[in-house]
Symmetry: C2
Subunit: 254 residues, 2 copies
């Protein structure tokens, strides 16, 4: 019986994790999933993820894949089986069998992130780990005018991290917009892929430019300059969610 390729959609509360990727400093989401898979298979199972989220970043639609040699388990039963072994801050939302060539990272056509901003002075205690407390009410239409330069194919060096090792800083953004959602302002951005900390750098920069009442083309000028010195400070991890990953050829990328 050949190994089957299983795709899993995963949600997690990033608060108690040192990010996605296994390392020695502390708990990671990857390690929790590996442990749960190992428990089922009695041997180590390798995992690929669509996005390696940073320490404190959450996910409501991370995607991973792994190859299983367990013949008797229907693909959709992996979700409850894994959940029964996982801690409450990680949940496998669904599992399905996919073609062998499916790779959570390399097959992804787009990633969508959402960043939650709380404009009021007081954040409800139950929401304190899941949003940035801005403490002021930004102007939504000004934020959207500033963000208007992001869609398209650009060199995002300005919004990259110093330690980023990507050979090219060019990425394609499909959509980027702020909208109100309950007590929050949400920034939603879809792109082919992202540089390390790019979403948080963009959010931090947009909020700073809006707060300083800079002209609508100031973000465009910062982007065009390809100069990290022109980015604002990186917004904290607490507000960021990896929302979904798009693979389907017929799906809209926005």
């Amino acid at each position: 019986m050949p190994a089957r390729n299983i795709k899993a959609v995963v949600a997690y509360d990033g608060t108690g994790f040192f990010g996605w990727q296994s390392q020695k400093k502390g708990r990671t989401v990857q390690e929790e999933l590996q442990k749960s898979l190992q428990c089922m298979h009695s041997h180590r199972v390798h995992l690929h993820a669509a996005g390696r989220t940073d320490s404190g970043v959450h996910a409501d639609g991370q995607v991973v894949n792994f190859f299983t040699d367990m013949p008797a388990v229907p693909a959709e039963r992996f979700a409850p089986a894994l959940n029964s072994r996982l801690p409450g801050d990680v949940r496998v939302l669904s599992t399905q069998e996919v073609p062998d060539e499916f790779h959570a990272r390399y097959s992804a056509r787009a990633r969508v992130y959402r960043y939650f901003i709380h404009p009021g002075p007081i954040v409800a205690p139950v929401q304190r780990h899941y949003c940035l407390r801005l403490g002021r009410s930004p102007d939504l239409s000004r934020l959207n005018r500033l963000a208007g330069c992001l869609p398209g194919r650009h060199d995002f060096t300005t919004f990259s991290a110093l330690a980023d090792r990507s050979s090219s800083k060019v990425r394609e953004v499909y959509s980027a917009a702020f909208y109100p959602d309950g007590p929050f302002i949400v920034f939603r951005i879809a792109a082919s892929s992202f540089l390390w900390r790019m979403v948080r750098s963009i959010v931090g920069s947009l909020l700073e430019l809006e707060g300083r009442d800079e002209p609508a083309d100031s973000m465009r000028a910062a982007l065009a300059a390809r100069d990290r010195g022109l980015a604002g400070s990186t917004a904290p991890a607490v507000g960021l969610f990896l929302h979904k990953v798009i693979y389907d050829e017929s799906a809209s990328l926005y």
Copy 2:
């Protein structure tokens, strides 16, 4: 300068607390607020609360009052001053001066609680501390037919805790209903006041009766019997929120 009576609306995430009331086992919300008040006043300040929530129960509208001898602080400035000294799982939403005779507990005309139930098999990790995972989809109209007996003045002995020391088990319920709210089913109940663990006993009983497909009048029969043996198991604290407390003479009690 006479002492001023200050009313504060308080929200908290009950996850990390051994309930409202100060005791020796661990952190309590009352103790955190007392510490914060003591820090401002340089002496101990006594607090009264509308409801003494249990270990793990949350609040989005608990009400307390205290007398202050600080002459220079405008009443509304107590909220940010206290918040600057409080941990993130307690927030003072607002403060205002009230007449001397106002008492958070004895002046309250009604308390409103909400209980959050997640019907699906998987609870999002970020919501795991704030709802009961039921794991099945109950029938909303059947639940509401069962709950239909609750409004009115009744002896709630059936839904009281064994250790309850109240001299009378009679309470007046103003409204009680289930409704859908996003991924949740919410049970909202308003009453003059509640017996210890009464809301959780009622929720546990209603869910059990619905799950066993009992007739619509089975809840009414359990209530009329004044027999604790007829109550279902007490629903866990995790889904319960003290939502608001009503004082205003002109306010609706529903």
